[in-house]
């Protein structure tokens, strides 16, 4: 392609400018976290002395050891549960001639556009009446239910798009539906399933509204919800607040750096539904 030198330079300049725009706020919070405790931080400023004590203080004062642990528990329930259920349902709707599958598919598609706000009103009240609040299991089940529609649709599309020859041959050989799923179609769908798992991990780690609706005891919530609660009493101590923010974003950013391709594939899958 023909492009003049000046055009090329301008293109890169704009790309770099935009990248800087994204990175400046994040850099600012990282630098702020390493300032002296209680220091007044102005804009983007290099700390005079690097202080690690904010991280330690935020960790203990914000009860982050239990909050991060609870986040991990929720992710450990949500990700496998949603992947298995979405895989099974996607197989039923995409690969089998299940009666009523058109209607069932639409039922799940409706769920992809429902905002969380529409379910929190009865959940907040009814779960309290049934004494089911303040439980990580309830939280994980509600999150899973909210995340399922996308996964079911995604896996249905995946299974429906697989070449039918292999599974037809298996069917002629007398393989049951379960055997076909287990030995042929699920292994073929592994890339789609891992993309889904990464997306679900991200959603479960970052979820906020469901957490504060289902769990009323701030110390029994997840890391982002705990961070939300940490703000009010510490809003003036910028280094401490930045350190707490750093604690909450580090796990997801590190996972993103390692599994970059899967994250991008997952985010794009979420967009291209």
């Amino acid at each position: 392609m023909r492009a003049s030198r000046s055009e090329r330079v301008m293109g890169y300049a704009i790309l770099l400018l935009m990248a800087a725009g994204i990175l400046v706020p994040i850099t600012a919070i990282v630098l702020a976290a390493f300032h002296e405790p209680g220091a007044t931080v102005r804009g983007l400023s290099w700390p005079d002395t690097w202080s690690w004590s904010n991280i330690a203080t935020a960790w203990t004062e914000g009860h982050f050891s239990s909050l991060v642990g609870q986040s991990v528990i929720v992710c450990l329930i949500v990700v496998p549960l949603t992947c298995v259920l979405a895989g099974l349902a996607g197989f039923g709707l995409g690969a089998l001639n299940t009666p009523g599958r058109g209607f069932l598919t639409i039922t799940f598609i409706v769920g992809m556009t429902l905002p969380i706000e529409v379910v929190i009103v009865p959940l907040y009240h009814d779960l309290r009446a049934l004494h089911l609040t303040d439980s990580l299991v309830t939280l994980a089940l509600v999150e899973s239910a909210a995340f399922l529609p996308f996964g079911v649709y995604w896996m249905k599309t995946t299974f429906a798009g697989q070449p039918s020859e292999l599974s037809e041959q298996a069917m002629i050989d007398g393989a049951s539906a379960g055997q076909r799923l287990r030995y042929i179609q699920a292994p073929l769908a592994t890339p789609a399933l891992t993309t889904l798992a990464v997306l679900y991990f991200m959603w479960a780690w970052n979820q906020f509204l469901i957490v504060i609706t289902v769990i009323s005891d701030p110390n029994r919530r997840t890391a982002p919800a705990g961070l939300g609660f940490f703000v009010a009493p510490h809003s003036i101590d910028i280094p401490l607040l930045s350190a707490a923010t750093l604690i909450v974003i580090t796990p997801i950013v590190v996972t993103y750096a390692i599994l970059q391709r899967k994250f991008v594939a997952g985010i794009l899958a979420g967009v291209e539904r």
């Binding site: 704009i14 709707l93 001639n97 706000e117 039918s164 961070l227 939300g228």
Partner: protein
């Protein structure tokens, strides 16, 4: 799909595969949605007997300044969460289609980063950036405007300030979507346009923009929903202040819910769901029309 159609045999067993997902989804999403629809017709504090109100809660959503205001604010946020990122993305795509970009992987890593961060953390980062000592005033100082405004506390600036956080979150995604999409436009189309003597501007409107129609539709669907159903960012940055100037539907629903005004919370939630559904249908049309061609 083909296998099923060819065999024409109904597989009742398939229902067993769908049942667990349907059960969970039905219990915690479909049933509560139906409950919300019902609750929206009552006046109920969650404790005392409910009083039938019919559609009166919906009348309040339209007439009450706070409830109606929250919807108006969500529509204003559309400009910042959806329109601005899509425009940025299109400008970038237009500037970058003419040559190959080196180091795209590194740019991609950065541009997707805001999508990965929890919005609560993003909100906290910007709370400080918008504070009197923050980076926003610092940057203004660099260009010669001295300011010690607390942007999120200003009556007229708080909502646009929140909106710009949305622009920050969504722009990278739109750019990456459009740059990838522009890569799929056939080079012959550009050559033809240039042979016809089209400059960069005509080339953009004649080739790039029509070629990106599907991507624009996808980007709008996601960003529009993120604006209408915004909660985390507003909850953590302003909580609706100053003077209800930054109330959005999600926030008002949560506040009414906690305060024991379930009828209005439910009615607003139903109105919000309808708005989101309408927006989703309208924007997905853009990408579907392209697919049918």
């Amino acid at each position: 799909m083909k296998a099923g159609r060819r065999l024409r045999k109904r597989q009742w067993l398939g229902l067993l595969f769908v049942a667990p997902a349907l059960l969970l989804y039905g219990t915690f999403i479909l049933y509560p949605t139906a409950r919300t629809l019902n609750l929206s017709l009552w006046d109920w504090d969650g404790v005392n007997p409910a009083v039938w109100r019919g559609l009166a809660n919906y009348v309040d959503v339209v007439s009450d300044p706070i409830l109606r205001g929250s919807i108006v604010h969500a529509l204003i946020l559309l400009v910042f969460f959806a329109l601005a990122p899509v425009c940025f993305g299109l400008i970038m795509a237009a500037l970058l289609t003419r040559h190959r970009i080196r180091g795209m992987a590194a740019f991609r890593l950065v541009y997707f980063l805001p999508q990965v961060l929890p919005l609560i953390a993003v909100g906290i980062i910007f709370r400080w950036i918008y504070s009197p000592n923050g980076t926003a005033n610092g940057l203004l100082g660099w260009v010669g405007i001295s300011s010690d405004r607390a942007w999120l506390g200003e009556w007229n600036w708080a909502l646009p300030a929140i909106g710009l956080i949305g622009t920050w979150v969504q722009s990278g995604l739109c750019m990456m979507l459009f740059i990838a999409g522009a890569g799929n436009i056939h080079p012959h189309l550009y050559e033809a346009a240039r042979l016809d003597g089209a400059g960069p501007v005509r080339e953009f409107f004649a080739v790039t923009l029509p070629g990106l129609r599907a991507e624009v539709g996808l980007a709008l669907t996601v960003t529009v929903i993120s604006a209408l159903a915004a909660f985390d960012l507003v909850y953590i940055t302003t909580g609706g202040s100053p003077g209800h100037r930054t109330d959005v539907p999600g926030l008002v629903i949560y506040q009414r819910l906690v305060a024991g005004d379930l009828g209005h919370a439910a009615a607003l939630a139903i109105v919000l769901s309808c708005l989101v559904a309408m927006a989703a249908i309208a924007t997905s049309r853009l990408s579907k029309v392209e697919a049918e061609r």
